[in-house]
Amino acid sequence: MTASAPALAIRDLRFSYPAASWALSVPHFEMAAGEHVLLVGGSGRGKSTLLQVVAGLRDLGSGSVEVAGTRMDALRGAARDEARGRSIGMIFQTFNLLHGFSALENVLAALMFSSMPAAGHEQRARTLLSTLGIAAADADVDRLSVGQQQRVAVARALAARPALVLADEPTASLDPENTETAMDLIQSACRAEGAALLCTSHDPAMRARFARVESIDEMIHGGAR
């Protein structure tokens, strides 16, 4: 990542599912390094799809997606997977932890695909987990509480020091009190690591937490900067 490179830059993005009449179109969207952006919009408007396209999990039809100076759309196969592991962290509504693995191993899993030297993996993982309040790093994730599992998921997303964290409806299944706690955790951790955060939500209450809020409906019409 170059110092001046934006965390995310999208230009003339167009994506559609095969044989679908609906298409996602984003003329222009940019996020500065370390910037936190909330992406709002109703269900089925394409928020999750946009995150998947940014992460290189779906091939876009045209346009470009640049993450921390790397053109994700220009990469194919293993190169794109490697770039994703190095530059992008993802947090999911249901955490998507590796079951049967410990909290430490879940974080190590993110590091094994990163460019970070192996000698530093354990220290990095333990430090992150400790910072996020996980004392039992060697405990199987299935034995942890839901709140602790979310902390592990956040630690895993940040482990490889990504430039950009994509959080897809991370609080959709939480009550308002836990939503506050979870978002405090995610945002503070991203700030501490210097990572940009693109968070999707259909919860209007989330708007207050972000300095910048973008609507998917406006974005697809070229309204975002």
Partner: protein
């Protein structure tokens, strides 16, 4: 202590441990089929080795049996008593017709408690080696030196329970016999007047000779001359002085041709074989050739067994494939998560393929251990029960081929599940469960 990392190997092992029953069943199936295949291959080699023992350093075997194969089965493996004798004059004429290294006469037909007896000359112990390069060894006592002394093969000694110094009476043909004392009721035609004294017990040789008892030729002739004299109404003890030419019979001649120093082969073999074959009164056999013939007869049968074992091995590979393929349905999310974290399609393909290889490699190694342990147990049992020495070690070439073949099958079995993992649609499998 080195810092911990997560490796592909750990992911593979964790994945296998996550479904222990399926993993152990598939490993056990592979192990069983590998062990079965190795045991069958090993038995074929070992049986060949066991049959090769016994003919030892004989070049040719002469008898009056109906065929060379029967001559070998009777004369070396004691399958039956030879039905036709060869006269002593014939033996002498054969011996003097060519400068053999040695020509050892043998006579079979009597037994002791079902163990065959071989009457022969002292050269049988001095020159004939039951296994080439391995001369006879005594476990206790000595070889026979005088008439009516008997030497026991290792299995015969163990089976009969006879000890040095004990007296035995031989039976004409097969049938019950007794130790010193009165004849038992229902005993066969026993040579009751002539007790033999046990003077030696042989070390095991791993050949059929271990089941036999050995006496000197003249004692055997006296036994049968006594029978002849009894039938003729002549009473009294029979001695060597009473022997007539017709009493001096043998049933086999073990021949060794001259060889060059350091070589077991003889340049005169074929010529002498052909010369002896012209005599229609006898049958001449090259033991090695007849044993090869015997194996050609039975090779079709063990070929079927080995083919069946290969089918079982292929079935176990198919089971591995099915177990892995079915597990993919429950692992698509895990695969999708690994992909999100940066694992390439090739890497997840490799992970699943490695799982298949780990299962089959573990199964193959367990199968080799199983075959080795089974071989040792079977070898000990065969040696103890029938004196047959089977080498329990696995043939390295067969083992490597079976190991390589099993791993290759494991690789093939892993291809389909690995392809399924390769094709897992990442984004679709990260959604919250419905």
């Amino acid at each position: 202590m080195s810092a911990r990392t997560l490796t592909d190997g750990q992911i593979v092992m964790r994945s296998l441990r996550a479904r222990p029953l399926s993993t152990w069943i598939t490993i056990s199936m592979v192990a069983t089929s590998v062990a079965l295949l190795l045991v069958l291959l090993g038995m074929r080699t070992a049986a060949r080795g066991a049959f090769d023992r016994g003919s030892g350093n004989i070049h040719l075997l002469v008898s009056a049996d109906p065929s060379p194969l029967v001559a070998v089965l009777n004369g070396i493996f004691y399958a039956n008593s030879p039905s036709k004798p060869i006269s002593w004059a014939k033996y002498q004429s054969i011996r003097s017709a060519f400068p053999y290294q040695w020509a050892i006469p043998t006579q079979q037909g009597d037994s002791y408690r079902g163990f065959p007896t071989m009457a022969t000359s002292a050269d049988f112990f001095g020159k004939f080696e039951p296994v080439a390069g391995e001369p006879w060894k005594l476990a206790s006592g000595r070889f026979f030196e005088r008439p009516f002394e008997i030497v026991l093969g290792a299995a015969a000694a163990k089976g009969s329970g006879l000890k040095l110094g004990q007296q035995v009476f031989l039976t004409h043909g097969s049938g019950a016999s007794r130790e010193g004392g009165e004849p038992e009721e229902h005993a066969g035609h026993e040579h009751g007047e002539y007790p033999f004294k046990v003077v030696g017990i042989l070390e095991p040789t791993g050949s059929a000779h271990d089941r036999a008892l050995f006496v000197d030729l003249e004692s055997s002739w006296i036994l049968h001359a006594h029978d002849r004299r009894e039938r003729a109404g002549i009473e009294g003890v029979t001695t060597s002085a009473d022997l007539e030419d017709d009493d001096r019979k043998v049933t086999g001649i073990l021949l060794r041709l001259p060889t060059r120093a350091g070589s077991d082969a003889s340049a005169a073999m074929q010529q002498q074989f052909d010369t002896l074959r012209r005599d229609t009164a006898i049958v001449v056999a090259q033991p090695a050739q007849q044993i090869q013939k015997l194996f050609e007869i039975v090779s079709n049968v063990d070929g079927i067994f080995i083919a069946m074992a290969v089918v079982v091995l292929i079935s176990s590979a198919l089971s591995t494939m099915l177990a892995l393929y079915n597990s993919m349905a429950a692992r698509t999310r895990q695969i999708a998560v690994l992909r999100v974290l940066g694992a390439s399609q090739g890497r997840v393909f490799g992970l699943v393929l490695t799982e298949s290889l780990v299962i089959t490699m573990s199964g193959a190694l367990a199968g080799i251990a199983l075959a080795l342990l089974g071989g040792i147990a079977a070898s000990a049992w065969l040696k103890a029960s029938i004196g047959l020495v089977i080498d329990p070690s696995l043939d390295p070439r067969s083992t490597v081929i079976v190991l390589g073949g099993t791993v290759a099958l494991g690789g093939l079995a892993g291809l389909l599940p690995a392809w399924r993992a390769y094709q897992v649609p990442v984004a679709d499998n990260l959604r919250p469960a419905a």
